[in-house]
């Protein structure tokens, strides 16, 4: 494969775009968060006096001008310091100063990243392994009964309420058959049910796109030409059509990975999966704003990374992009 400077320039540009987007999104999060209640009050709890709250506000820098606070926030963003969690109350978040890593939100959130990556990765790999063959099988025989069945099933997959399906999975496969643990984290068996619950939608979407993009490609002149050269159908589909159909499929896989990253918020909560999603729900429910900022930061970072990977995949799949 020829990869030249144009390719790197392209990736560099996307990377720069991603960084700018990240800063914009996090800035919006910062300003939005300043609208919802008093962090000092949340740290101190309901019983604290006004004086104590004001005292803490000063200590936390909340009495400074907004521009100064925003500047600090940006500096923190650049240095990976997104503030300290409220969850432990006043006792140490102020007293312990900057040394207490256990209180910094970014490390707390980072700690949950692997679990989410495992779940999202397993979901997408499983989805692709199921959906691609299904989609291609259906595309090979358009409007046949199996194609129609696959079509309806894949639509059904994207139409179901995920968490309802997740609960059914628990009842059937954990309680009834006892094949998998109900919930939790640690072994391969623990991944199965949450990944299954999350994969329904990606399977449906990828199947549909694989089928339709392959059919679209198969209608193009170069396919007709290849057939006219006596190339066997199987080879025409596998070598010629599939590579070009791969671009929309990769786009969809990227989109669905992003959807899974959103979907983990509910599914992780149900399955007690110690990922970013469950942490986001926890942090939201107690309004632990710095922690919310950290989880949103990581979620957005994941999404931007996925987008970047999709861009790189494009460049490999589409020679026109590669040569610039």
């Amino acid at each position: 494969m020829k990869i030249n400077n144009a390719f790197f320039a392209f990736i560099l540009k996307r990377l720069l775009n991603s960084v700018i987007l990240l800063v914009i999104v996090m800035s919006l999060v910062f300003f939005a968060n300043r609208q919802i209640g008093d962090p000092a009050r949340m740290v101190l709890g309901n019983g604290a006096s006004e004086e104590a709250v004001l005292n803490l506000r000063t200590q936390m820098g909340l009495e400074d001008p907004m521009s100064q606070q925003y500047g600090r926030f940006l500096y923190g963003l650049a240095t990976g310091d997104l503030g300290k969690t409220f969850r432990f109350g006043l006792s140490d978040s102020v007293r312990a100063g900057n040394d207490a890593n256990a209180l910094s939100t970014l490390p707390i959130a980072m700690d949950r990243l692997p679990a989410t990556l495992i779940l999202a990765g397993a979901t997408i790999i499983f989805s692709v392994l199921v959906a691609l063959p299904l989609g291609l099988y259906a595309a090979a025989r358009p409007r046949s009964p199996p194609d129609r069945a696959i079509g309806v099933l894949s639509l059904a997959g994207v139409s179901i309420v995920e968490y309802w399906f997740a609960l059914v999975l628990v009842l059937v496969f954990a309680v009834q058959f006892a094949w998998f643990p109900t919930s939790g984290y640690g072994t391969v068996a623990h991944v199965v049910l949450p990944a299954l619950a999350l994969s329904l939608r990606p399977i449906g979407r990828i199947t549909q796109i694989a089928r339709s993009s392959l059919l679209d490609e198969m209608a193009k002149p170069y396919i007709t030409a290849a057939k006219g050269r006596g190339i066997p159908m199987r080879r025409v589909a596998a070598v010629h059509a599939l590579k070009n159909a791969a671009i929309p499929i990769v786009t969809t896989i990227g989109d669905e990975t992003i959807n899974v990253v959103t979907g983990v918020i509910i599914i992780e909560t149900i399955f007690g999966w110690p990922g970013i999603g469950a942490l986001t729900v926890d942090a939201l429910s107690i309004r632990d704003i710095p922690l919310v900022e950290a989880t949103v930061f990581l979620l957005v970072l994941m999404v931007l990374t996925i987008n970047l990977l999709v861009d790189v995949a494009y460049a490999f799949l589409n020679p026109r992009l590669r040569i610039g």
């Binding site: 709890g45 309901n46 109350g89 006043l90 006792s91 140490d92 707390i108 628990v170 072994t187 149900i270």
Partner: protein, 514 residues
């Protein structure tokens, strides 16, 4: 569950090599599934079981309550004495060591007590405090606990305050939030955030050899996990992943009772559900007894209790059950009288009053089906001509509103749970019936003075004084009690567990017979 094997083998090795004398163990790992992760492992968290499930296996207090009689018993303190009206001396148990190897002496106890109740730390446990508590060293084995005002309930209150390592508090305060170092039968092992926390049997626990111990170590280790979904919690017991699942519903409990291999345990608690309605300072109509009566009798409390609050015991028109100090005989729950309520509302309207829209909220997940309950309340009030707006709010929104005092444009009610581990009305009054009370929207200086006076009394005098106030509170429609919560646990068959109304998850009181 990756620790199961290693922990087990470690415990076996300990048992074999050291041959710890009175350390029974051998019960393997106890897995408890609760509904939420502790927000921290601070000593103060242990005051309420739901805030830090299982933490009382690691952290102990000066006193404890008898599960049967609710009477105050020795724990880390072997005896206590009221030296002066505001000074109590606690005699500490000999030879008790914290899990970090430091001794529990008067010095350590004083540091821990002062840390826990200090205004600077502002821990929520202070909601359970009467007058301000401070501690001083008397001699090596005696700690003095001093209260700003007279507090006859102090020994009972001490049951709420966990005692943890003074060395940690002084040297590594930030560690206090994540690494509890107590004196209990289990040594804190690891808190894997988002997943579980674990502890291992403590071979050096004082209770292994003491005569007045409160249990026996059966399990080698304890693992606490949490699942917000009720269905998943009960599924974990059914599939054998946990021995104890907390907070089942009545229907699940019935199903568990009927199924083989699993059981359901139900018991009344020290927590009651109450309906608090803005009073002083709120919309003028809310200070009108007619309007309050219309609201309190326009709601079918018994219907809600029986059908929505399925695991509950009736409350006799007041907040605490009959065992409580100050319980008033002869009061009955506000009777459902939609016609009467409607008539009152019509009367108020005829007098030219505009009925305000009542905002009824509850906290997300504070008790099962609270969302349905406020829907029912809203619909019932609507039916008697009182408009409502209802909302289930997450703690972040609910909590600050709960402590804000009413303003004239406000007409607000909440449905919320409240625990009274002391089983004494003084605590209820302090929180709900005084101007300064944390969540109080009622403010009558005269009433407050009488309540404060009653709180300093003891014996029958105390009971009678509090009882009179209870009756008055009922007549003045201050707060509507809904019911006393029962809590249900899904457990493996043959599970034995002694616990009191405080529902402490204490492993030394648990064992499996099968």
């Amino acid at each position: 569950m990756r620790n199961t094997v290693s922990t087990k083998s470690l415990a076996l090795a300990l048992a074999g090599v050291l041959a710890a004398p009175a350390h029974a163990a051998g019960g393997g790992e106890l897995v408890i599934v609760g509904n939420q992760e502790p927000q921290s492992m601070q000593a103060q968290v242990a005051h309420k079981e739901v805030n830090g499930i299982g933490l009382r296996n690691v952290i102990e207090q000066l006193t404890r309550l008898d599960p049967e009689t609710n009477e105050v018993l020795p724990m880390l303190a072997v005896s206590w004495e009221q030296i002066e009206p505001t000074v109590w001396h606690f005699d500490l148990r000999d030879g008790v060591k914290f899990h970090d190897g430091t001794d529990l002496d008067a010095e350590a106890a004083a540091v821990s007590i002062n840390w826990l109740w200090s205004p600077e730390n502002s821990y929520p446990v202070r909601d359970m405090m009467g007058p301000q508590i401070t501690a001083e060293v008397v001699d090596e084995d005696t700690v003095a606990v001093i209260t700003d005002g007279i507090d006859p309930l102090l020994p009972r209150r001490m049951y709420l305050g966990g005692i943890t390592s003074a060395r940690q508090i002084l040297e590594e305060p930030e560690d206090h939030s994540v690494n509890p170092i107590g004196t209990g039968p289990y040594v804190f092992d690891e808190w894997k955030q988002g997943q579980y926390w674990t502890s291992t049997a403590n071979p050096d626990w004082w209770g292994n050899s003491a005569d007045d111990t409160y249990g026996e170590i059966f399990y080698d280790s304890v693992r606490v996990v949490w699942r917000p979904e009720a269905l998943v919690r009960s599924a974990m017991v059914e599939s054998g992943e946990a021995q104890v699942a907390m907070f089942l519903t009545r229907e699940e409990c019935d199903r568990f009772g009927a199924a083989s291999g699993i059981d359901c345990m139900v018991k009344g608690s020290d927590t009651f559900l109450q309906f608090r309605l803005d009073y002083q300072g709120a919309h003028p109509l809310l200070q009108d007894q007619k309007f309050r009566k219309a609201i309190f009798t326009g709601i079918n409390w018994e219907g809600i209790r029986q059908n929505l609050m399925s695991l509950s015991e009736p409350l006799a028109g007041q907040m605490l059950p009959s065992v409580a100090t100050g319980f008033a005989d002869g009061i009955e729950q506000y009777a459902y009288d939609p016609q009467g309520a409607r008539a009152l509302v019509d009367e108020l309207k005829a007098a030219g009053n505009e009925i305000p829209t009542l905002e009824v909220t509850t906290r997300l997940g504070s008790t099962p089906r609270n969302g349905e309950m406020i829907e029912a309340i809203g619909a019932m009030l609507g039916a008697v001509g009182i408009p409502t707006r209802i909302a289930v709010e997450e703690p972040g929104i609910f909590n600050p509103r709960a402590v804000a005092k009413p303003t004239p444009d406000r007409s607000y009610a909440w449905l919320h749970v409240q625990a009274n581990p002391l089983m004494d009305y003084a605590l209820t009054f302090g929180a709900h019936y005084t101007c300064a009370g944390n969540v109080s929207v009622f403010c009558d200086p005269d009433f407050e003075a009488r309540a404060n006076a009653a709180a300093e009394l003891t014996g029958d005098a105390r009971h009678e004084a509090l009882e009179a106030l209870v009756v008055e509170g009922h007549e003045r429609h201050i707060v509507a009690p809904v019911g006393l919560l029962q809590r249900a646990y899904g457990v493996v068959e043959g599970f034995e567990w002694d616990f009191g109304v405080d529902h402490r998850i204490v492993a030394v009181n648990m064992r499996e017979t099968k």
